[in-house]
Chain length 510, copies 2
C-alpha cells in the first residue's frame, strides 16, 4: 500500500465521522401562518361542537362511559354514544395545560411540548423495514433496535416516536417489554409508549419510573412519556385505546389525541368537513383526559389527509394535507393546546416523490406551528415501511428546517457596510476579514447533500442522494455509542421484564 | 392478440393523455410571510442607501453614466462609479409601476406581474441538457426547441424563461434570431428576451412587434417581454447588460434586475450584508430604468444564496437561500415593486436532494410572495444543466403549490354537518351522497406521483419518480401541438430573420 493511501485512510478514520447538526431544542420564532380567517375558524369550531352535541362520539369502553356520565356528559349506554354540551367541552378543555415538559432519563434530553417549541420524533408503527441494498422485509426486533440506535444517533431527533418497525418475530403479548427495555438501554431520549390497553401502559410506566429513579408519587407529576391515541374515525374510540388514554392520564402522562380523518373515506370529502370532524373527535378525547385527571398533559393531533379517489388508498403530503396541517395548528392554538402533526408521504421509493411529499408535510406542519412533528424521520409508503435511507433524507430536511428557523441576525456587524465598501466593484469577498473571521460557521452544513460539481461528482461514482443516504446510516450505526445507564437500574429493569414475562407465560394477568 | 389486449390498447390510445392541471393564472391570497421585523427591514434598507450614497455602483457604460448624471446622480467618469443620494433614489423608485401586464402573442396567455399574482417560468441559461436515458450533453438548438415544446405543453408554466439550453451549435452572433423565431412559432406564451446588448433586444422586439401585430407606437405601451439584467456583483453593471436594460426600458418593456449576491463570495458572508448589497444593486438598476423611461415596468430580482465554504462553489435551496427569498419579498414590497425569485438546487441528479432543495426554494419564494418564480422547471446542477425529468418533478411541485394556494372553502356545504351525522361511528363516507357528488374534482390530481400500494407498484416495474418523469416528458412531447400562427406573420418573421442573418454575414451592424 502506498504511503499516500495509508495517510488517507488514517485521515478518514480520525476525521471521517458523519457531520451533523448538534443536538439542540428548537423554537419557532416566526409568526404562525394562517390560512383560515377568524370567521372560518369559528365556523369549523361551531360545526364540531354541533357534532359533539347532536351526534355524539362512541366510546366502546365501560369505564370511560361512566366517567363521562359522572362529569356531566349525556351517555347512551346502548349505542355507547356520548354527547357533550358546549359549556362542558369548554370547561374541560380549559383545564389542559398549554405547555409541559417531557422528562428523559438523561435530563439533558428533556423537551418542552407546547408554546413555540418544536420537537421531531421518529416514525412509529410500520410493519416493514427497508433499505436500498437489502430491500423490503417484515419487521423484526433486531431491525427495530437498529432503528432505535439510528434515532439515538441522529441529533436532529428529540424523541423516539415509538416502535419504528414492528418486532413481528417476538411474542405479541410481551414484545412491549422487550421494546421498552431496548428503548431504555439503547437511547436516552424521551420515547413514545404503546398505549393499546392499560396493561402495556402500566408496564412502560413502571420501567420508566425505575429508569428515572422516581417514586410512584413523583411519577404522577413527572410527564416522561406519551402515546398517540388514534381515534377510529368517524367518531369512535375503541376499548383498548380508551383504556390506554385513561391509564396515561391517570398517571400524569401525555396523550396525543389523533383522529384519522381521511377525507372521502373516514370523514367528509371536503377539507372543512374533515377538519370539523377531526376537531370534534379531538375535543372529546381531550375532555376525557381532563375528567380522568384535570391538568393532565394532552396534545391536539392533526392527521387529516385525503384518499386517492381513483383507488381509495390514502394519499399523503398532498396540497390538501398541507392545508390541513396549517389549519389544524390554528384550531389547536384556539384551544391553547400543544399541536402534533406528521411528516408523511406515499412514495414506494426514497426518490424525488418521497422528498417533495415530505417537504409539503414538513412545511405545512412547521408553518402551522406544530409542537411535535411525529414520524419525522423514516416514514415511507404511507407508513407501511420504515426506511433507513428515508431517515437520512428526512434528517437532512429537518436540519435544514431547523436552520431556516434561526432568524436572520441584523446588526451593524452583520449588515457589513464597511466590508461592502472595502471590496471593489466586480471583486470578491473570499479574502475579506469580515468573511475570514466567520467562514467556519457562517452557513448550514449539510448531512448528505452533495454540492460538488458534476465532473467531480461523476468521477467519484455519481451516487444519487439515496445511495449516499445508505452509506450515512450505516456509518452512523458504526459510530453509535450506547448511552450510559446505571448498572443497578439496568438489572432492575431486566428483572422486571423477566418477572412480567413469566407472569404472561403462566397466564397471570395483572 | 387477445380481444382483451386489443381493447386495452385502444383505451390507452384514447384516454392515455398526460393528466395535468389546466392552464390558469394564480393568485397568492395568503398573507405574505415575514421573517424580518420592521426595524430590521429598515436597517437593511438604510445600509443599502449608505452603499449607494457613500460607495456607489459601477456602470461600465458611457450612455448610462451620462443619463445618470443628467438625472442628478454623482458620476465619477474615471472610476465609472455612480453615487445616488437618498432622495433621488426614493423619487425614481416611486415612478415604477407595482403591477403590469405582459402580453403574449395569444392574448389568453397574458399574465399580470405584481400584486398577488404568481407566475412560473422555465429554466433559462444552462449550457447543458440532460435526461436519464441519454445522459448529459452540450446544448444544441434541437434540444433547446424540444424544451420550448415541453414548456409550451406544461400548463403550469405561464412564461418561457429564456433559452432553457444554450444552442451552442449555432452561430453565437445570430442564434438569438433562431431562438426568437422558435419561441414565436413553437409557443404562444410570454417569453424572456436575451438582453446581452441592445442589438439582440432590438431584434427580439421587432419580431414581437410583428407577431403581436403592433405598430412601433403601440409596442411602447404594450409590455410583451422582459429580461433578467444580472448585476455583476459586487456593485457592477457591465456594458452589455446596461445596454440591454436601457433598450428594454426605452421600449416600455420589462427589466428584472437581479444581482448575484452569493454570500461569502460576491457579497458579505452574512445574510443581512448580502441582502443590503442586493438591495443597493437592485435599486440602482431600477433607478436607471426610470430615468430612461418613467413608469417603465421593472421587477425586483432576489437571488441571494451562499457558497459552500469548503469548496467555494455555489449552494442553492439552502436554509440561507430560503430566508433570503422571504426577506427579499419584504424588501420588494417595501418599494411597491413586483418581486422575482427562483426555483434552484445544486444536485447533480434528479433525486431526493434535487427535490428537497427545490422545495426549500419554492416555499421560500411563495411565502415571500414572489410574483415571478424564474427557473421554475428544469433547473439542475446549480443551473448548469436543464433536465427534462427535473422539469416534470418541478411541474408536479408547482402544481401542488398552486393547489395549496387555493384557500379552504368554508361554508355550510363544505362543513358537511349533515354528512357527518349520516355516517355511523366507525363507518365510512365512500357511499355518502356528499362524497359521490364531489369525488371527481375533490382533490389535487398528481402529474407523476404514484400512490399505488407497494405490491402493485413493484409488479408494474417499481419505477422511481425519475424514471416515471422520463416517460411523462416524452409523452408530453408526443402530444405536443404547435399553436396556430398566421401564415403572413410567420413569413414576415422568417423574412426578418433571413435579412438580419444576411446583414450579420456581410458584417453590417445596425
Amino acid at each position: 500500500m502506498s504511503r499516500k493511501r495509508t495517510k488517507d485512510r488514517v485521515r478518514q478514520r480520525t476525521t471521517g465521522r458523519v457531520e451533523q447538526s448538534r443536538w439542540r431544542t428548537l423554537e419557532n420564532r416566526y409568526p404562525p401562518f394562517e390560512i383560515l380567517r377568524e370567521e372560518q375558524l369559528d365556523a369549523i369550531h361551531d360545526t364540531s361542537l354541533s357534532v359533539l352535541e347532536d351526534f355524539g362520539i362512541e366510546f366502546r369502553n365501560a369505564s370511560a362511559l361512566e366517567l363521562l356520565e359522572q362529569a356531566g356528559a349525556n351517555v347512551d349506554y346502548d349505542s355507547q354514544l356520548v354527547r357533550f354540551d358546549r359549556g362542558l367541552i369548554a370547561e374541560l378543555i380549559a383545564l389542559a395545560p398549554s405547555e409541559f415538559t417531557l422528562h428523559a432519563r438523561n435530563p439533558e434530553r428533556n423537551v418542552v411540548i407546547g408554546g413555540r417549541n418544536l420537537c421531531f420524533d421518529s416514525v412509529g408503527g410500520p410493519p416493514n423495514s427497508a433499505d436500498v441494498v437489502s430491500g423490503r422485509r417484515m419487521g423484526t426486533f433486531e431491525e427495530c433496535c437498529r432503528f432505535f440506535r439510528l434515532s439515538q444517533s441522529l441529533n436532529v431527533l428529540h424523541i423516539i416516536g415509538g416502535w419504528p418497525i414492528a418486532p413481528t418475530d417476538l411474542n405479541a403479548e410481551t414484545r412491549h417489554l422487550d421494546c421498552t427495555l431496548a428503548l431504555l438501554t439503547l437511547t436516552d431520549k424521551v420515547w413514545f409508549a404503546n398505549a393499546i390497553g392499560a396493561e402495556r401502559v402500566e408496564d412502560a410506566l413502571e420501567m420508566l419510573r425505575i429508569a428515572l429513579g422516581l417514586d410512584h408519587e413523583q411519577l404522577l407529576s413527572t410527564p416522561c412519556t406519551f402515546s398517540v391515541i388514534n381515534v377510529n374515525s368517524p367518531r369512535r374510540y375503541d376499548e383498548a385505546m380508551a383504556d390506554g388514554l385513561m391509564e396515561l392520564a391517570r398517571n400524569g402522562q401525555a396523550n396525543c389525541i389523533t383522529p384519522f380523518t381521511l377525507c372521502g373515506a373516514m370523514s367528509p370529502i371536503t377539507l372543512a368537513g374533515g377538519l370539523a370532524q377531526q376537531n370534534a373527535e379531538v375535543l372529546a378525547g381531550v375532555a376525557l383526559t381532563q375528567i380522568v385527571r384535570p391538568g393532565a398533559p394532552v396534545i391536539y393531533g392533526g392527521f387529516t389527509s385525503n384518499v386517492d379517489m381513483k383507488t381509495g388508498s390514502p394519499a399523503f403530503g398532498t396540497p390538501e394535507y398541507t392545508k390541513a396541517c396549517v389549519a389544524s395548528g390554528q384550531l389547536a392554538r384556539r384551544y391553547g393546546l400543544p399541536y402534533r402533526s406528521s411528516n408523511t408521504n406515499a412514495s414506494n421509493a426514497v426518490d424525488a416523490q418521497a422528498a417533495y411529499e415530505s417537504s409539503m408535510s414538513i412545511w405545512g406542519s412547521v408553518l402551522g406551528h406544530c409542537n411535535l412533528l411525529h414520524h419525522a424521520v423514516g416514514w415511507l409508503e404511507g407508513g407501511l415501511t420504515a426506511s433507513f435511507e428515508k431517515a437520512i433524507v428526512d434528517a437532512e430536511m429537518l436540519q435544514m428546517m431547523a436552520a431556516f428557523l434561526d432568524p436572520i441576525e441584523v446588526n451593524e456587524d452583520t449588515l457589513a457596510l464597511k466590508a461592502i465598501g472595502d471590496v471593489e466593484p466586480g471583486g470578491h469577498f473570499f479574502g475579506s476579514e469580515h468573511t475570514l473571521s466567520r467562514y467556519e460557521d457562517a452557513f448550514y452544513k449539510p448531512l448528505m447533500s452533495d454540492w460538488r460539481n458534476f465532473e467531480t461528482w461523476s468521477e467519484a461514482g455519481g451516487e444519487d442522494a439515496t445511495q449516499r443516504a445508505n452509506k450515512i446510516w450505516k456509518k452512523l450505526l458504526e459510530e453509535y455509542e450506547q448511552p450510559a445507564l446505571d448498572t443497578g437500574i439496568q438489572e432492575e429493569l431486566e428483572a422486571f421484564v423477566s418477572r412480567r414475562k413469566a407472569e404472561f407465560d403462566s397466564g397471570v394477568k395483572k
